[in-house]
Amino acid sequence: MEKKQGTLSIDETTTRAILVIGGGIAGIQAALDLADMGIRVHLVERLPSIGGRMAQLDKTFPTNDCSTCILSPKMNDCARHPNITLHTYTEVTALDGEASDFTATILKRPRYVDETKCTGCGECVLKCPAKVPDAFDMGLRERKAIYLYFPQAIPQVMTIDPDHCIYLDRGKCGACAKVCEADAIDFEQTEQELTLDVGAVVVATGYDFFDPRGLAQFSYEQCPNVITALEYERLISASGPTGGHLLRPSDGQPAKRIGFIQCVGSRDVRYQQFCSSVCCMHSSKQAVLAAEHDPEAESYVFYSDFRASGKGFREYVARAEQEYGVNYVRSRVARVAEDEANNPIIHYENMETSRPARMTMDLAVLATSLIPRPGTAVLAQMLDIEVDTYGFVKTEPHAPVDTTRPGIFTAGCCRGPFDIPESVVQASAAAARAARVVGGV
């Protein structure tokens, strides 16, 4: 798909190109809007495929649309758009110049696979002997050292993980190269540096999740049946490690009684003081999905303030409660213990009664905070833009997609926790602002 890769020429035409950093839904939308305005776009993604966090989700609230199914067409549009050049497995390493006349330096890591030859057939994956926990599936299953980032990856080409490839480590094996009919394996590939002349930049590098190991009271490390919300997404996804069956990590038994714990790390003076915005809704959705998979499943959402002010959200929550029997417990969770059968026991204060209580679950799901990516600070420094007190890319309320540096705009969860439609709106907005810098009607 990345045919132009390697033969990239500096843009000579009247309108400057725009650099979009981050190939999640925000970056994808910004790139598509700009490209549809006739502006050339360089879309840089550090992972082997575009798609971002949204590709990892099973379904999305409030419509219960399959996440991949609505994302994939946009990914394909990006790959096919004549005005978009994809640079996957690539990071921006420098930005010089000023608004309307930037020079960006990008560094493409070696895949050890020729993108122009690989057909994504997967024969190499079958033969590769090295197994690695699959980061896309939150380590819930293994992949090979040569892998496709996920089934709908764009580009549909393999990547060799240099940390686990036996050949790259010891010079022996090469099983992938032997079976590759397309002759695409290239162990000699090296990193490639390119410079791009661009008029404006859109930063859409997304977010990370708070690591619940920092909060020992939730027993995430000790109790295998305490998982994070993103792990739950992979578990319940048809393309995930259990083929969409909600099975407990400890014993592979179906989870029938599930507790969703809100604000894990959020609205907490010791960790994130902010609200992560999306957890009330994604937990409601996850509880609905549990009921859809198994009508006997019982779900409990432990929350303090329930925040659902987006379009159709209150109606969704009412349906979750009335049609799917989801139980909402206004509470403060004190800790999660574990019984001898690995069942998580949730200890909480019921805020309706002001009394302590506890419930035993098959599975406890932690709604961990959406936090800035560890790379955001480094990127911000390199781009010479400011971050806010929490480490998100800084913006002002009345210029919401402008960073502190002219010519650089931002969208999506690198500037705070937002849901998908908000990220999409911000992406279009950043496209509008960036397009003004390069002109280009």
């Binding site: 419509t63 057909t119 925040r307 002010s309 009345h398 911000q426 950043a430």
Partner: protein
């Protein structure tokens, strides 16, 4: 073309997506035996470069007249295969997709035998349809690089300026006598506590000095015809004067209004007022109270209006902070149900209010607060006790609701959301807010091409969000306005005028305004379809009583052939 078209079938493994659950070899072998099929090929990925090259080679060298790809889904991949056909001069509508992944391998993962049988059935249906496919033509339509923005508040002005500064002509229509919208009535803005007026005045000045923006105040949209790239709008002012112009795209930014709590909590506009009335007092310097009780969700999150209006918690905090800044010793209570202060800025804002001494008391629908002449009595859910709070002023936080249409003496003086939605032929939801094409991924688009929405006309949103939406809608509109022409699909409805009796049912049912009746002879009307406006949905064909209307690419003959093929092992004589 001969009677029996030469059909090529390409069966895709989709890696293991299909081949992992369906015996693709057996499907390909089966396809070879189907009538008309002269060429069959399997690919690991038919959509790969190699796969597409093979299709193009086969069209040329094997003289294929129809192409059937049995693969993932037309949703993402149909354009790709159509393009491949187009490149070697086969009409792209002579391509047919047999969906054996989404509709087969993915849903029958654990039944490989049944899945293989179903894949054969789907391929047989695709081939049956392919026999009857007809070449269709697409149309190129020039685009007028101008936009109509309806609503001259902060949102409409922001969108108009972005487009105008990029070189597009903008017509900005405001039903009030001046630009500015709701912000003209606000005191402060949250979370900055800046004055609202300077921000909006600056934007009004920018709009008025921009030569590319033509402003129509005291005016409403009176009539709209046309289609993406070429809408014809008529705008009418209070005096009845009309202006008409052609625009390529439209942005709806008509805002919302604040619900009036008539008959609730002893609302009297004196000692029990709304947040907006409180802000008027701040602005007029008439605020005078030291004990203020604010009640949230007045008229919201109740059975008749179940939604949360999103901005009321932050509005209450803004005004509570404002009271505290005037009178630090004032007592301010906010009676709330859930604090809707998402994200970084608003959670910090909530903290700031608590630190400033604003008291938050949680109530629930089970025990509504009661407002008497002197006191507000509320059951504090967290304390588990009733509180009785003396007050000077009660402030009710009421939701944003959609604009209502009011028939004034002067025609069209008040255009509500529903009236506008009818004129634009775009939907509103049950609350009267405009309904976007897709809540998740097309939040600013309508299903009708070239029309976009931003701001509180879509849903209650913070100012920061509505400004974002304004820019976003401008970007969406610019994707149309930047093009010289737009291409319409060949999959449209077509009328057989000999069969049409001009009943107009197609005109009634079409959501996109594509069919219209034209007078063929005196008093003889027939339907005609504007192919640019038609979405090919087939609604008209399904209601047509005479069979005059045909949804091309999904004709009765084609669909019937597929149904027959589905029900029978072998193709019946057609």
């Amino acid at each position: 073309m001969s009677d029996e078209p030469r059909i090529g079938v390409f069966v895709c493994h989709c890696g293991s997506n299909i081949a992992g659950h369906v015996d693709v070899e057996a499907v390909a072998e089966y396809a070879r035996g189907l009538p008309g099929v002269v060429y069959v090929r399997r690919n690991l990925y038919t959509c790969s470069d190699a796969g597409l090259t093979e299709i193009k080679r086969a069209i040329v060298e094997e003289k294929l007249e129809r192409v059937v790809v049995a693969a993932c889904t037309p949703r993402t991949h149909e354009p790709l295969f159509r393009d491949a056909c187009r490149e070697v001069e086969l009409n792209p509508y002579l391509f047919e997709f047999a969906n054996i992944r989404d509709q087969c391998s993915w849903v029958h993962m654990y039944e490989p035998e049944a899945a293989t049988q179903k894949a054969k059935d789907i391929v047989r249906m695709g081939v049956a349809k392919a026999h009857l496919l007809q070449p269709l033509e697409e149309q190129q339509v020039p685009v007028e690089p101008a936009a109509l923005v309806i609503g001259g508040g902060m949102i409409g002005m922001t969108a108009a300026l972005n487009l105008a500064n990029r070189g597009f002509e903008v017509k900005l229509v405001e039903r009030e006598s001046e630009l500015g919208g709701q912000l003209l009535y606000l005191d402060k803005l949250y979370p900055t506590q800046d004055d609202a007026l300077p921000l909006v005045q600056a934007r009004v000045a920018e709009v008025q000095s921009n030569p590319s923006i033509e402003v129509f105040t005291s005016s409403v949209l009176h009539e709209l015809k046309g289609f993406v790239g070429n809408y014809e709008a008529v705008v009418k002012d209070e005096e009845g004067r009309q202006s008409s112009f052609i625009i390529g795209a439209i942005i709806v930014a008509t805002g919302a209004r604040v619900f009036q709590p008539v008959g609730m909590y002893n609302y009297d506009g004196q000692r029990v007022i709304t947040q907006l009335e409180l802000e008027e007092r701040f602005k007029a310097g008439e605020f005078d109270a030291s004990r203020v009780v604010m009640i949230q969700c007045v008229g919201a999150r109740i059975p008749e209006r179940p939604y949360c209006s999103r901005i009321c918690c932050t509005t209450a905090i803004k005004n509570a902070l404002e009271i505290k800044s005037h009178r630090p010793d004032a007592e301010v209570y906010i009676l709330y149900r859930d604090t809707e202060t998402q994200g970084t800025r608003y959670e910090a804002y909530y903290t700031r209010a608590r630190e400033a001494g604003v008291q938050f008391i949680r109530y629930s629908l089970r025990h509504l607060p009661e407002v008497s002449g002197e006191r507000v009595v509320v059951y504090d859910e967290l304390l588990g006790a009733k509180l009785s709070i003396p007050y000077d002023l009660v402030v009710l936080s009421t939701p944003l609701v959609a604009h209502l249409g009011i028939k004034g003496k002067r025609s069209g003086s008040r255009q509500g959301a529903r009236e506008l939605s009818q004129m634009l032929k775009v939907p509103v939801d049950e609350h009267g807010f405009f309904l976007e094409a897709h809540v998740k991924l097309r939040p600013l688009d309508f299903a009708t091409d070239g029309i976009y929405v931003a701001g509180t006309a879509r849903w209650p949103s913070h100012l920061e969000e509505t400004i974002t939406q304004a820019y976003g809608a401008a970007a969406r509109a610019a994707t149309i306005l930047s093009k010289d022409e737009v291409t319409s699909s060949g999959v449209v409805a077509r009328v057989n005028e000999d069969l049409c009796r001009g009943c107009g049912r197609c005109v009634e049912i079409c959501e996109f305004g594509a069919p219209s009746l034209v007078e063929l002879l005196p008093r003889v009307e027939v339907a005609r379809v504007n192919p640019v406006m038609c979405k090919g949905c087939g609604a008209c064909a399904s209601v047509c009583p005479t069979g005059a209307m045909t949804a091309m690419h999904f004709t009765d003959e084609q669909v019937t052939a597929m149904v027959r093929a589905a029900l029978e092992e072998t193709l019946l004589p057609l």
